[in-house]
Amino acid sequence: MKVAYWPGCVSRGFTPELHGSMQAVAPLLDLELIEIDRGSCCGAGVIAEHNQELADTLNARTFALAAETPGELMMNICSTCQGAQSECQERLDASAEYRAEINTTLEAEGLAYEKGLVTNKNFLWLLVEEIGLENLTKKVKRPLTGLKVGPFYGCYIVRPTDRLGINDENPRDTYMEKVIEALGGEVIDYAGVHKCCGFPIITMNKKASLQMAGTHLADATDADADCLVVPCPLCHLNLDLQQPMAAGEIGRDLSMPVLHLPQLVGLALGLEPKELGLQRHVIKPTSVIDWTTAVVGSADGASSGW
């Protein structure tokens, strides 16, 4: 299927392995990514905090650009983009008058946001709702047998439930577990699954921010997870890049690899770790991959070294 692809900023900035792994895994899922290359940052909640209309206008523009592509849907690979864009879309869809006001600003560029035209889904939602778990399982070449994976969603993709369309029909706050199982892995439940990585307050309250990351990583370690998987690059920054600092903050050694969702899917679909940029992580995924044979699995991974 063709999708209007919104990679976001961080997947092309400080976590380039996310954008790269998504591009690598897309053909294996029969996804054609049509990048919305003129789009702008979703605002990550910060622009909306500064000026709501500004965030709504920028995202209305991105939606309008998505509508111009032949994509059936718009797909993002970032929980924060999903949450921030859903918030703007909720307001845009609520009032014709407000929409008209926003469109007045977009008019000069010949763009307009039209209600009901663009459905924006995170890669996680698309995997379950469009590609389907059975179909996904069929594509698995290297099942993640024995790999114990802890899901970490990121706040923006699980709350508020009504805005994000999380309900009995679409229990989107359980999709990560379903995908891990479909790929042959074992789901690890731990206290931090739906909690906050702490990234938004890293410049304002570094201590609390790192305590959040450290606590969730430690909880996952205690629950015997081999790795975490995240659909959000901002969570990845706090959980992987900042992990040594987080370990210092909570006073405990941590060595928990954190994978981006497309990386986990890519491994199971037979891609090589290097194609997925797994060498770019601060915490090397030794517990996930035996690099000498590129075998995925935890059984002897820990002893194989690098």
Binding site: A44, Q52, L58, R159, C196, T203, M204, A208
Partner: protein, 427 residues
């Protein structure tokens, strides 16, 4: 009738025993409330169960508990909905006391120790503007609409219970108190708006300590959306009063906005130093030095290259700059508040829609707002039997869109209620 297992967390500090879980079976319809189940068990099986409740109608805010991990009012949570969140098997409902507060006994937490102390922290009363008018203050109608959402708070503490920042930083002023702060910051009769904002911006555990986790929005049974109120506090502090706090809150916001205006996409390498006031700002030096290991790790793993950090690959198009200029140069910020103006689809379905016109976007402090307004204030005692004093004022004025500043559209907020109160929340 379905059979539910109520798994209650029991704890009696006077007994000397550790907290433990105890199972009780109840036979009730799924649409009955968790509170009804608890009271039935207390009546029929174990009279020693400690639970606080009063109105049983989601008004008094006394019965906050956690059911299967989520905070809310026990009287406002259907058994069938709570059971859906079960991780312990079919029809098992784990009921625990709210989080972030010490437990007094079983399901009763010490609201005084955390919640009320924090509420008092924000000066939760109006500091009257001088000179005090002989009769009442006359304020623009829409200014009161602006604070309506925070007035819906019934002080149940559910947001405090589930706040993820408070879990790590117990000194955080917290969602309920900050929502209460906006109640006065947004009130034109208050004389100390700037002082209030500056106090909460300067506090290292104040308004910039919120981590955007949406837990309070999810937990609130009354649609107050405390996190949205915190963002409005920040908007007022930064854009209206230009309060440059020591927590880098406003600087980070401005650095982010500037970054996107310039690059279209976020250029992280600039954001960090700019959030501390620029690379050479005295404040930035120690912060950047402490971040050095992180930067080095990013370079080492090839996440980022020096070239990529220094060059700005992305440049914002003139279109994006134009949008920034257009919107930022408006005299009044435009905000569309869903709580107040609703969704056109819902309004179309609702024959009782009084306005009849499409709801307008509400601009802060001035300009266009219409519609029925419910101003509801509730003061609640935290005793076992809560006392509710309710003042309800209803206005059903429809104000045409008028250019700011608004002079004519004034509302006497002390006017007596002359019609039936309508439900303040949008459950």
């Amino acid at each position: 009738m379905p059979d539910y297992t109520l798994r209650l967390r029991r704890y009696d500090p006077e007994s000397g025993e550790a907290p433990h879980y105890e199972d009780f079976q109840v036979e009730l319809d799924g649409h009955r409330s968790v509170l009804e189940a608890i009271l039935q068990v207390r009546g029929d099986q174990d009279g020693s169960i400690g639970v606080r409740c009063s109105c049983r109608a989601a008004i008094c805010g006394s019965c906050g508990v956690r059911t299967n991990g989520k905070a809310g009012l026990a009287c406002h949570t259907h058994l069938e909905d709570a059971a859906k969140r079960s991780k312990d098997g079919e029809n098992v409902i784990v009921v625990e006391p709210m989080g972030n507060m010490p437990v007094i006994k079983d399901l009763i937490v010490d609201m005084e120790e955390v919640h009320w102390k924090k509420i008092r922290r924000v000066t939760p009363w109006l500091v009257a503007k001088e000179p005090v008018p002989e009769r009442e203050y006359i304020v623009p109608h829409e200014a009161m609409v602006d604070v309506t959402q925070t007035m819906a708070c019934i002080q149940c503490g559910a947001c405090v219970s589930d706040c993820l920042t408070m879990e790590m930083d117990p000194l955080f002023v917290g969602p309920a108190a900050l929502a209460k702060a906006y109640r006065f910051v947004g009130d034109p009769r208050d004389a100390e708006q700037e002082q209030r904002l500056s106090d909460l911006a300067e506090d290292p555990h104040g308004m910039y300590d919120c981590t955007h986790c949406f837990q309070c929005i999810e937990a609130c049974p009354k649609g107050v959306a405390p996190m949205s109120q915190i963002m409005r506090l920040r908007r007022r502090a930064g854009s209206d009063f230009h309060i440059d706090d020591r927590n880098n809150g406003h600087r980070h916001e401005m650095a982010f906005v500037k970054n996107i205006r310039k690059n279209g996409l976020l250029h992280e390498a600039d954001l960090l130093p700019d959030s501390y006031g620029g690379k050479f700002h005295p404040r930035a030096v120690p912060e950047l030095l402490s971040s050095l290991p992180v930067v080095l790790r990013a370079l080492k793993t090839g996440k980022v290259t020096i070239k990529k950090a220094l060059l700005h690959e992305h440049k914002a198009s003139p279109e994006i700059k134009r949008i920034f200029d257009t919107v930022e140069n408006r005299e009044v910020r435009i905000e569309y508040n869903l709580y107040i103006s609703g969704n056109e689809d819902d309004l179309a379905d609702d024959p009782s829609d009084v306005g009849g016109e499409a709801p307008a976007a509400t601009a802060t402090a001035t300009a266009t707002v219409t519609e029925a307004v419910v101003v509801e204030e509730q003061i609640i005692e935290t005793e076992t039997e809560a006392v509710v004093i309710e003042e309800t004022v209803i206005e059903e004025t429809v104000v045409e869109e008028i250019p700011a500043p608004v002079a004519e559209a004034e509302t006497d907020v002390d006017a007596p209620a002359d019609s039936e109160p309508t439900e303040g929340d949008n459950q």
